[in-house]
């Protein structure tokens, strides 16, 4: 057991360790990025999906905005209450409450058989929308069903089911990426606990809609007339529901001649699609 080998190796590695430790320490000072010490735990608390639901470029951008005070605590739709509590505790501020939002597709795909022309090209909505009339279908407001939103959804909550986009309400975290992505703007954010849904975004008059879609809204106003809490308003041939007023009584579901309005698994009402990026 000659000790020179041990001595040499320990000395060599020790010297190297010392030297590199010094270099790293000095370098970490020279390259010190002056960050607020709360930034690290805050970014840790956020889910880290960088989805942009809070309206910022990513979790670290949102975290630094919160520290700079320009962003509210509860703006992270993905994290929900758990993240807000953690963020509030790090920032030493009480947490603002948040209502959970999910995406909803305002189209039943009723018009996908009635086409102006046969579209053969890149299987992508953004490509199809650039052609004359903005859509191969007769109905110029409907969902093209080519899955751009599916590509943008990081949480695998969107899928194309027989030609039209469908949202998986449980998986949807409400980040709003699909709302921005859809070139036909048929996807909007609604409250998770909305009672009914009117899945249509066609602003065309009745006789055009009857030709271009099997169950599109023709703006007949029946649902608005029979809704006691006056939750439904019809503007340019399209019915929209205000979630806060709707009590989920379901009379409009029975009244709608096109069988368009339906209960969202029996408990929820529909609210007008808001602008992208849900604010708390």
């Amino acid at each position: 057991m000659d000790f020179t080998v041990i001595l040499y190796s320990v000395v060599l590695l020790g010297v190297m360790g010392l030297l590199f430790g010094l270099i790293l320490a000095v370098a970490s000072q020279v390259f010190k990025v002056d960050t607020d010490e709360r930034l690290e735990p805050l970014t840790e608390a956020l889910p880290g999906a960088n989805c942009g639901g809070c309206g910022y470029a990513g979790c670290s951008a949102y975290a630094s905005a919160v520290i700079a005070g320009t962003a509210p605590i509860g703006a992270c739709p993905v994290g929900g209450a758990a993240v807000n509590a953690k963020m509030a505790e790090i920032m030493g501020v009480e947490a603002g409450e948040t209502t959970r939002h999910v995406a909803q597709v305002f189209c039943t795909g009723g018009g996908k058989e009635k086409l102006q022309y046969n579209y053969v090209g890149i299987h992508d909505c953004e490509a199809a929308v650039r052609l004359p009339g903005g859509t191969p279908m007769l109905c110029s407001f409907g969902c093209l069903g080519m899955g751009t939103c599916v590509k943008y959804c990081q949480f695998d909550a969107l899928s194309i089911v027989d030609g039209v986009a469908k949202v998986d309400r449980e998986k949807c975290v409400g980040c709003g990426a699909c709302v921005k992505a859809c070139p036909k703007h048929v996807i909007g954010m609604v409250d998770y606990d909305s009672h009914i849904q009117i899945p249509c975004s066609s602003k065309a008059p009745g006789k055009v809609v009857t030709k271009s879609c099997t169950n599109g809204c023709i703006g007949c106003n029946l649902c608005a007339k029979f809704c006691e809490p006056k939750a439904i308003t019809v503007t340019d041939f399209l019915a929209r529901v205000d979630n806060s007023k709707c009590t989920g009584c379901g009379t409009c579901v029975a009244k709608c001649p096109r069988k368009l309005i339906s209960l969202v698994d029996g408990t929820a009402t529909v609210e007008a699609p808001q602008a992208a990026g849900a604010e708390s």
């Binding site: 040499y8 060599l12 890149i122 299987h123 992508d124």
Partner: protein, 192 residues
């Protein structure tokens, strides 16, 4: 001088680090979604590999002098890890956008088989100082060539319609295998 050219040719084409020697595949698959991040990663790897080859050559001479060459792996790894940490700090300060884009793959350069592979191959081939630095740099260039080529292919893949199961990584791997096939064509090209 022609020895350097021979090394360059072999390191970039004939024995390309990623596609022929299977070194450095993790960042190759992980960072090649966009060409600019791939290029950023490639340049960082070239920088680290050049410095690492130089530093490890000096360390190897030290090890031989003290006759403790069994410490080779540890000493090399320590040098490379420190170098990568320095690059990480520098990027965080100077180019934060590239730093966030590279994300977890920057520390992974440390375990990047390519960097340690270059250091170990340098000692095996018995190159002198200039040759080993040249070998390190040119294998970094080979790595960058492979990763940038691959990134351009992957960017175009976003719009092609491929079977659901093959979307994402499997499709990338299939195109990587075709790329490897092309690079196999160079194997007959031995210069010296």
């Amino acid at each position: 001088m022609e020895q350097i050219f021979a090394i360059a040719l072999s390191a970039i084409l004939v024995e390309n680090y990623v596609l022929v020697q299977f070194l450095g595949i993790c960042p190759f698959l992980g960072v090649s979604k966009k060409v600019d991040t791939a290029l950023g990663m490639g340049l960082a790897v070239i920088f680290v590999m050049a410095l690492a080859s130089a530093a490890t050559y000096v360390v190897q001479q030290l090890l031989i002098m003290l006759d403790i060459t069994y410490m080779q792996t540890i000493a090399f790894i320590l040098v490379i890890a420190t170098l990568v940490q320095l690059v990480e700090m520098f990027l965080q300060k100077a180019v934060p956008s590239l730093y966030t884009a590279l994300g977890v793959y920057l520390p992974l350069i440390t375990t990047n088989c390519a960097v340690l592979g270059a250091a170990v191959l340098n000692t095996q081939e018995g190159y002198n100082f200039i040759e080993s630095v040249a070998y390190g740099t040119f294998s970094g260039v080979g790595f960058t060539l492979a990763i940038v080529l691959f990134a351009t292919v992957r960017e175009r893949q976003e719009f092609c319609k491929c079977p659901k199961a093959f979307e994402g990584i499997p499709m990338a791997l299939v195109s990587a295998s075709l790329l490897a096939l092309c690079f196999m064509g160079f194997s007959g090209l031995s210069v010296w």
